[in-house]
Structure formats: structure tokens, C-alpha cells
């Protein structure tokens, strides 16, 4: 299974470098060939979250309130 990647090879190399990864050319090319697998994951998530009011599963909660020790106590 393969499909065209949206990132150019150069942009891919730059993203890896920005994260501290500097593989050799052979490794970089083999990873680039597998990039479509990650882009497919991204597409699934982006297509499925069009509802703008949907909040993340883990939202911030005040620690004291979460522990049942809020102001009312």
C-alpha cells in the first residue's frame, strides 16, 4: 500500500532534524517511504473531528475540586 505523501522529502528531513533526528540518507529514504502510514492516521483523526465544540477527552480540572475538596467544603 502506498500513496503520495503531502510532505516533500526535504520537509520531512527538516521535521526530523528539528526533533533531533539525523538519520543517514538510506534510513531517511526508507522512513519517507513509510510516511503515508502516519499521514493516514492523521487523516482519520482530522476527518472525524469537524465538530468545533467537541472538547478533548482529558480537559484540565482543578486538583482540589477533582479530589472533592473544593470551596464548598
Amino acid at each position: 500500500m502506498s500513496s503520495p505523501q503531502s510532505l516533500s522529502f526535504e520537509a520531512f528531513a527538516a521535521m526530523l532534524a528539528a526533533n533531533g533526528h539525523t538519520p543517514d540518507e538510506h534510513k531517511l529514504r526508507s522512513l519517507y517511504a513509510a510516511l503515508h502510514t502516519i499521514e493516514a492516521l492523521q487523516q482519520h483523526v482530522r476527518q472525524a473531528t469537524a465538530d468545533m465544540v467537541l472538547e478533548p477527552a482529558h480537559v484540565f480540572r482543578q486538583p482540589a475540586v477533582a479530589a472533592g475538596q473544593g470551596e464548598a467544603q
Partner: protein
Amino acid sequence: MTGEPLHFLTIAEASDLLQSRALSAVELIGHMLARIEAVDPQVNSYLAVTAERALDDAKAADAALACGEAGPLCGIPVALKDIYDTAGICTTSGSHLHADRVPTADSVAAARLKAAGTVLLGKLQTHEFAFGGPSWDLPAPPARNPWNTDHFTGGSSSGSGAATAAGLALGTLGTDTAGSIRMPAFFCGITGLKPTYGRVSRRGVSPLGYSLDHCGPMTWTARDAALMLQALAAYDPHDPGSVDRPVPDYTTALTGDIRGLKIGLIRHFYDGDDEAEAPVQQAMQAAVETLEGLGATVEPVQLSPLQTYHACNMIIMMGEAMALHEPHMRATPEKYGEIFRDRMMLASVLTAQDYVQAARLRRALAAEVAAQFAKYDVLLTAGGWGPAPPIDQMSPLYVFQRALLTSPFNVTGSPVASVCNGFADSGLPVGMQIVGRPFDEATVLRVADAYENATPWRDRRPEIA
């Protein structure tokens, strides 16, 4: 005594023998250590065997048993995936990065098993940091499937699956972020229980994806999983994910009676969204008929596509894993195995937006599954695509290439048991997943136990010797 060799006793059987003093813990542990020495070189399930400590602990267990004060796990030989911290015992996470790391305190799960009187046989093989494997460039070679040592065990709790199936421990602990308890359970033909997120403390266990990581038992039967969960389940105020909920008596829930239970079958995950191999399809059909024969009602349910759940799981897991490992990968990349490094490098194209989108999607997917439990007591689906593949044919990037049937229930945090439901013509096992309401491990185990007792699969063992 039962007719089984000691190493193939279930925990429940061994417990009965120990409690009645028909068997001593020293005798049992001595037998298990000899079995490990003889058999483990074929399956590579142990990274370290703690023989001296095990024999000392066995003597202490016999003393407690003699006083009549011992619980059901006293004297039971167990082993832990080597990402559970153990005080004074090297805990490597299967990585050169932690090759010499000796924790000063036990993980909560290890401490609770110790307090229950279990005897630690040693530390078990794991994919690197519960993610990178099977690899040949780590401190030890990968574990092998006891049903056929040319084949994969599944990961990442690879040693836990292999040791439990091969009779090298009566119970083990694994961890599960995308299926790492349930995939080895599926491939090795054992019972793997991923409890509800928040049920078992993760403190002292090397994290992979903070919001997806679960700790749980891997055993031969659902009854044994219930016995281990009883010791493990507890609120831990120092684990931010832990939830303070009552812990029921899991073994009394194993009534064998599932008449009237409503089961939702998520068939489209393995027959529609993607196609499982024939042995899995056939085993699932037969399992549905068995459960109906036991008096349950089985109806199809429709959820979002499996690939949507998997993408949500993978993006959250990779985001959290990269946040955790980035500083070490920058400083000492050579201390990681190639598979771990490659997966992390590839996933570094993921953005903060991807992570937040996945977290938003997670809320919707969790609600979708929760809604099914208004109508159904448990959900049922396949545990994997087919029997264990040859280990040398595993793609290093397999976790990105095909959706895992296990990953949806890390997204939802649901309790799930992976149960053996048959064997392919090759002799390799296959299995299914039984999914419950949050914190309702009791019903999951009740269905799993009833199914195991109604089928012959628990009578078959690997012929490794």
C-alpha cells in the same frame, strides 16, 4: 493432587494444594526454577531469574501457610514484565538505556503481589519501553512463541505471554497501551486482562502513553485473572489516573451462569472494516454460538470504523511517548534499538494539533462505546487478525500499517479480557475480546470464565519441554 505437572497447574489449583498443605511452596518454586532453567532457553521469556530470593520467599510462604493465615495467592510463583520497578532488582525496560537501572522501591503492583504472598521468579522480556520490538539489537533477543518458537509472541508483554503459556510462571503481569497484554494473550493462547483505566495503579511502572497505559494480569484462565486482580485492584492517591471505586469480590462473580446476558457483537471490526483470517472468523462464529448456547443473547452493534479508533490511539500514544523520550533520544540515541528509534522518527511529523484532535475524537469515541452499554452487558470482538506470524517476517512498522483490534479499548479505557477461542490447523491459538462497562471487570470475567468452562481450549498446552 491433580494430574497436571506442577508447572501447568492453574493458580486456583495450585492455591488449593498449597492451602491444604498437599504441596509446599518450596517444592513448587523449586520445580518452577528447574523448569525455567530447562525450557526458557527455547523461548527467551526471562530477562532475569531471581532464584535465591524466590526460594527464601517460598520458605516464608510455607511458614504463613502453616499458620493458616495465608491468602489465595500465598506461595504462587509469578513473574513481572521488566517495566515494573522491583526494589533492588534491575529493571531494564528492555533497553540499553536502563541496562543498569536498579530501583529503590517496588512498583505498587509488585508490592501488592508481594503483600499477597506471591513468590517472584524473575523479570520478563518486553519490547523496548513497551513499544519497540521484536528487536535483535536490545540487551536480550526477543521472546519466542511456545506453540511454535519460529513465531511471534505478540508484544509488548512478550515474555509475560510466553512464560504463562509455557508453564514458566503461573501468573504474570503485563502492561497495555494499544494491546500489549491482549496481543500476547491472543498469540500465546492465554487469558489477558486489561482492567479499566484507573483500576490498577501504574505508579512505578515505566510509562509509554500516560493516558492509555494499563497494568493487568496474564494467566491461563479467567479465574486466575480474577484472583490476581483481587490483589492488584486498589485506589492509589499518588497515581493521577487512579479512581476510588469499590473493589468487588471477583471470584464470587464467577458463577458460570450467563443466562439472559446481552452481548453486542462488533463484527464489522474484523469482518468489514478489515478482514480477519479464516481461523479467526470461524472461531468467532463458534464462540458466538457457544455463548448463545449458554443462554446469552448476541446482537450486532455498529461503531465507528476500527481505523478511526486506531488512529486516535496511535496519535495520542505517539505524542505522549515522544514527549517522554525526546530528551533521551536527543542525548543518547544510540542507546535505543533501531525499531524504537525508527517509529519515533517517523511519528515526529505529528503535530500538537494532531494530538489535540485525537484527544477530542477520543471523547466522542468513548461516548459512542458507553452508549452501547445502555443495551448490552458486554461487547465482543476478535482479538487479532490471524495466528502468530513468523517472528522474522514482522515488519518493524507494523503498528502503523494495519489497525490493531485491541487499540479501541485503550481509547475508551474499558475493561477487556482476551480469551483463547480456538486453534488454527497450524496449532497456533486465536482469541477474542470481551469488553465491559467501566469498572465492571466482574461481568467481563464472568463471561470469560463461563466460556472457558464450556470449551476445551484450556485443556491444550504447548508441547515444549
